[in-house]
Amino acid sequence: MHVAHLSLTDFRSYPSVELELQPGVTAFVGPNGQGKTNLVEAIGYVATQSSHRVAADAPLVRHGAGRAIVRASVVKDDRRALVELEINPGRANRARLNRAPLSRARDALGLLRTVLFAPEDLALVKGDPSERRRFLDDLLVARAPRFAGVRADYDRVLKQRGALLRTAMATRQGGRRGSRTGHTVVRRAEDEAGFASMGAGDVLSTLDVWDAHLARHGAELLGARLDLVEALRPLVEQAYAALAPGSAAVVMSYRGTHLSTGEDDLGTSDRAVLTERLRARLLEVRDAEVERGVTLVGPHRDDLLLGLGDLPARGYASHGESWSFALALRLAAYELLRADGSDPVLILDDVFAELDAQRRRRLAETVRDAEQVLVTAAVPEDVPAELSGFRYQVAEGSVSRGD
């Protein structure tokens, strides 16, 4: 697939911009801070409805404006679809498909698929587990948009259960204090928790119910992630070997909190088995959860462990190795999406400047045959010769054809 037209209103630095795009390679070149990343970030947003740079949407709206609009005309198998997103920070986004409003913005996911490489990718290897969880979950959504719902449901169960655990925690602490001073135990705890009417009995009986729902929704997310890691593994190995021939082998394993410490992988992603396992683990840790007021077991606490040979990548891999690993993960995502059907749009935001000559060349060779490749670079020399194609000059917020 490819994006044939992009139109922005009040997105980032752009009051308004219209851009014709074509299949093949297009490079956006211009000094830093001129708005190159802003353009490709908008395209990424159409695909994932989130930015690769910021967690919240507010910075995406031009300073002083109330909302941003991104329109992209997406061509897939010779069919054209116009996707329009209205970004409303703090409120629900709105979406239209071919001018018809969709009931939820989420329903526009899956119309455009992108794989975006950016300097921020180094965090996939060096950063917190949340970076790797997001990598996996974003890819799940790109492959099957219904996972946006699975993810949202899971987050909501987590929030509900968290609120309940905090009440339980307050009840317990209030109980201790209460018994020392001889006050009415439960009443005091409720006052402290700020919940007028949730008593201790209520809390425990409903915790069982939320456990069941957490386990069910968690198992769906967890099972999908386990399957995804299996599908990615050979592709990551292959991509890494191509980027850094002769280097140590890459190792990838999913570390799930559904397993007890030291326990081996269950060897299955069967949802029913995982549901039961999560439920059992929740019971095991319940005391600690009530003590701390947080959910300690579930996919929101898991990690994707990355290693090179016998050593973990995080903390051990060199800068260059970390880059190769991050690129290999993105390339594997690209291959996987490609194998599902249509070529995703490849976006390479300012990455070539970060790489040595060998990695640069190998990356360029791997991506140049994609249906559409969008590259940003500060200077023309940062665009590898293998990636010749259209050029746009980006300067002071205006985008012009140029070479």
Binding site: D153, Q160, R161, L164, G199
Partner: protein, 199 residues
């Protein structure tokens, strides 16, 4: 911030569901500019509804007498109770003409974020209704979202040991939404295809 009484009105309006600070302000200034007779009628309607409308002592639905119209209707099936979150859900289900039993209105769903637990819902009243063994089926028609599902599970666990058949509306209802937004045909079909709820 406006002068005392105006700000009071804005604050009170802002407490209503679906009314944010901006709308509250807009409504307040609309009322300030409106014809005094119109405002009086609105105020009267507000007071009257509080005065005359009450909740059915059996099912919790809105009623103009002690018991609601449905609970008083001798033709309704005494063996089936349909549990809903709000009175508006009763209206939605009545429109389908699929259901001939009686209702039980919980007054919401379990939602720890909002501080709502089972004791805040009319669950004890439901248990009392089930105690005499006359009811053989409980249809749980809470909203098809997480809180509605959690409430359904909670009720099923509570009621199953009493030997009552517990069913849930068939899927096909728009997930994540409100029961009242389902169209009549879909809701009617969901009733026909209700399934046993496993705990």
């Amino acid at each position: 911030m406006y002068e005392g009484v105006v700000q009071n009105l804005i604050d009170e309006l802002g407490l209503l569901p679906g009314v944010g600070p901006k709308s509250a302000q807009r409504i307040a200034f609309h009322l300030l500019a409106a014809d005094p007779a119109d405002v009086k009628r609105l105020a009267h309607a507000l007071l009257e509804v509080k005065d005359k409308v009450r909740f059915c002592r059996v099912c919790g639905n809105v009623a103009s007498e002690e018991d609601c119209r449905i609970c008083r209707d001798a033709r309704r099936d005494l063996h089936v109770i349909c549990v809903v979150e709000e009175p508006k859900d009763v209206v939605a289900i009545e429109k389908t003409r699929e259901f001939r039993g009686r209702y039980h209105v919980l007054g919401g769903a379990i939602s720890p974020i909002d501080g709502v637990g089972p004791d805040d819902l009319r669950i004890r009243e439901l248990m009392t209704r089930l105690a005499d063994g006359q009811v053989t089926e409980l249809i749980i028609a809470t909203d098809p979202n997480l809180e509605g599902e959690a409430t359904a599970t909670y009720l099923a666990r509570l009621v199953k040991p009493m030997g009552v058949r517990v069913t849930r509306l068939a899927s096909g209802l728009p997930v994540g939404g409100d029961l009242e937004y389902a169209d009549e045909v879909t809701l009617g079909r969901a009733f026909e295809g209700r399934r046993l709820l496993d705990v």
